[in-house]
C-alpha cells in the first residue's frame, strides 16, 4: 500500500477540475514523471502559491466535487508524482474518484460539516493527517489540537487500494 499520511495542503474551493490539476497541453507527455512540475498550474485560487504551497505536503483537503471535468488520469498521476496519495473532500467527480482507487490511491469523503470544521480549526496552520485504511479512520493534528474522523470505503475501494491496481485484479479474474 502507498503512504497515506503527511502534511496537509488546504485548497479552499469547490469544483477544482482536472484541467486545473494538470492542463491539457501536458497530456502529450510520454511519462508520468514529466507531469511533476505542472501540478495545479492553472488552479484558480487566491493566495495559492505553487512554489511554496506544494513543498513537503502529501495530503490535500478540499471542498466539493474535486476532480470534475476531463477524464484524464494524468490528474491523479500528477498528484502521485508530487507525493500526494490522499485527497480528502466533501465529494469527488465520479471518474476522478475511480481513477484514484484504480491507481491504488485514496479519495476520502467527509461530510460538509466535518470539512467545514477541519478548515476552520486547522486550515490556517501546519497540519498533519494519517489514515487507517482497515478501520476507515483518519486523524488530523495541528494548531495545538487533534481530532479523528470516520469515513466510508466500499469493499471494492479497499480491495483496489490493497491490490495496488485494477489491471492486476481484473486480469486475474476475468
Amino acid at each position: 500500500m502507498k503512504n497515506f499520511s503527511g502534511k496537509v495542503l488546504f485548497l479552499d474551493r469547490s469544483d477544482i477540475n482536472t484541467d486545473e490539476i494538470i492542463p491539457a497541453k501536458y497530456l502529450t507527455e510520454p511519462d508520468k514523471e514529466n507531469l511533476g512540475p505542472y501540478l495545479l498550474e492553472d488552479l484558480e485560487l487566491s493566495g495559492f502559491d505553487r512554489a511554496f504551497d506544494l513543498v513537503n505536503r502529501s495530503v490535500i483537503i478540499t471542498r466539493a466535487n474535486f476532480g470534475c471535468g476531463s477524464s484524464r488520469e494524468h490528474a491523479p498521476w500528477a498528484l502521485e508524482i508530487n507525493g500526494f496519495n490522499l485527497v480528502i473532500a466533501e465529494s469527488f467527480a465520479r471518474i476522478f474518484r475511480q481513477n484514484m482507487f484504480n491507481c491504488g490511491m485514496l479519495a476520502v469523503e467527509l461530510s460538509k460539516g466535518d470539512i467545514d470544521r477541519i478548515f476552520k480549526k486547522y486550515g490556517d496552520s501546519d497540519s498533519y493527517v494519517s489514515v487507517d485504511v482497515d478501520d476507515c479512520v483518519l486523524s488530523i493534528s495541528g494548531a495545538g489540537t487533534n481530532a479523528t474522523f470516520e469515513f466510508h470505503l466500499s469493499g471494492f475501494d479497499k480491495e483496489l487500494v490493497k491490490a495496488g491496481g485494477w489491471v492486476e485484479y481484473a486480469d486475474s479474474r476475468y
Binding site: 477540475n17 486545473e20 491539457a24 510520454p30 476531463s70 484524464r72 465520479r94 481513477n99 471494492f156
Partner: protein, 433 residues
Amino acid sequence: MGQTITQKIFSSHLVDKPFEDVSVLSLDRVFCHEITTPVAINDLVRKNKDRIFDPDKIKAVIDHVSPAKDSKTAAQGKIMRDWAARHKIRDFFDIGRNGVCHALFPEKGFVRPGFTIIMGDSHTCTHGAFGAFAAGVGTTDLEVGILKGVCAFKDPGTIKISVNGKLKPGVFAKDLVLAVIRELTVNGATNHVLEFEGEAVERMSMEERMTLCNMAVEAGATCGICKPDTTTVDYLWEFIKDDFSSRRAALDSFSVYLPDADAEYSRVVQIDAGSLEPMVTFGYKPDNVVPVSEMEGEKVDQVYIGSCTNGRIEDLRVAAGVIGNKTVSGSLRAIVSPATPEVYKRALKEGILQTFMDAGFCVTNPTCGACLGMSNGVLARGEVAAATTNRNFNGRMGKGGMVHLMSPATAAATALKGVISNSELFSTQRSLS
C-alpha cells in the same frame, strides 16, 4: 420492481458482482483516441500484457491534435497507429479519415441501443443518445477494457429529465442542456445517469440528442441517455438493415431497453421546453448559465463553432443560416471546425463552407483543437471566446482565456455583431410574440 434503461443494460451485460454496489459489465465497444490511449498502450506493453480483447469491438481515432503540431503529438499518433496495425484493428481512423470521436463513431454506425461503451474521454456520455450506456473512464479502466472487454461501475442511480412541450424557434438542444446543468449544478448528477424524455426530446434528431447527452457529464452524470425510437432506427438503418427484416422489427428488438413504467428514479426534473430562451455561460463553471439576453453586448475576441457538442452538419446548417450573406464583425475572428470528414463534405456540397468563408470564417479540418486549448485557435491571456463547445473551465481554450458556451445560432449571431447576441431566429420570433 421496474427498471430504468441503465438497469436493463446493466442486467444484460453483468459479468460479475464483486461487491454489492459494484457491477462488472461486458463491453460492446471500447473507443480510443490519441490523448489517453497511448499511456494505456505503453503500460500494457511494459506489463507484458500487450493484448486486446477483440479487434472488432475496439474503434480508434486520432482526433485531438490533428495534424500533429509537434514531435510529442506526432509520437502519440505513432503509438496509436502502430498499435492499431499490430492488433489488426480495422476501424482505425487516421488523418484524412479522422474526426472528433463522439461525432465520428456514431456517424459510422458503431453505436446501438443497449450497448455498453467506454472510452478514455469524459464526453463518452454522448453515445447515450442512442439508448446505450456509454461512460468516460480513466486510463486504468481503459487498459482493462482493452485487455479484457470489461469495466467495473458503482451501480448508478437515474435522474429523469422530463422535457415537455416544444422548444421555441431559435432555441436548441444546447440551450436546453445548459438549462438542465444550471438546474442540477455541476455535481448534482454524480453517480447518476440522466434519462431524457418528453415531447421536446422525442422531436429531436439524433444530432440534437447527441448534443443533449454530450453535456450530461458537466452535471457530473455518468451518462446521458435517450429512449431508442423510430428516429434512432432511421438514423441507424443503413448499418443494421441486414440484421433486421424491417425497421419495425429493429424497433421491437431495441424496445427491450425501454424503461418500465414503475422504474425507480432518484429524482425527476420537469422542464417546460416552451419557456426556455437561448442560454449562455458566464464564469468558469458550466452551471453558470443565464439567458443570452442578460449577456448581450459582451465583447468577444474569437468565435469558435465546432466540437463533439456542436460540430455536426445540423449545427453548421443552423449557423450558416444565421450568417446568410453577412460578414463577420471586424472586431473579432471566427473559426469553424466541421467535426468529421463527412460533415465537411456535406457542408461543402451544400454551399455551407462557402457561406462561412465568404463571411470571413477560417474553416479548419476536423479536429478537437481549440476546444481543449491544444491547437487551431488557442486564446491569448485576457481574450474571450464565444464557443459551441462544452467546457468553460479556466484556461480550457488557453491560459488566461474566458469561454462562453452557447448554441451555434448564438455563436453565429455573435460573430456578426462582434458582441454576444441572440440570433434573429430567436429575436424575430420574440418580437412577434
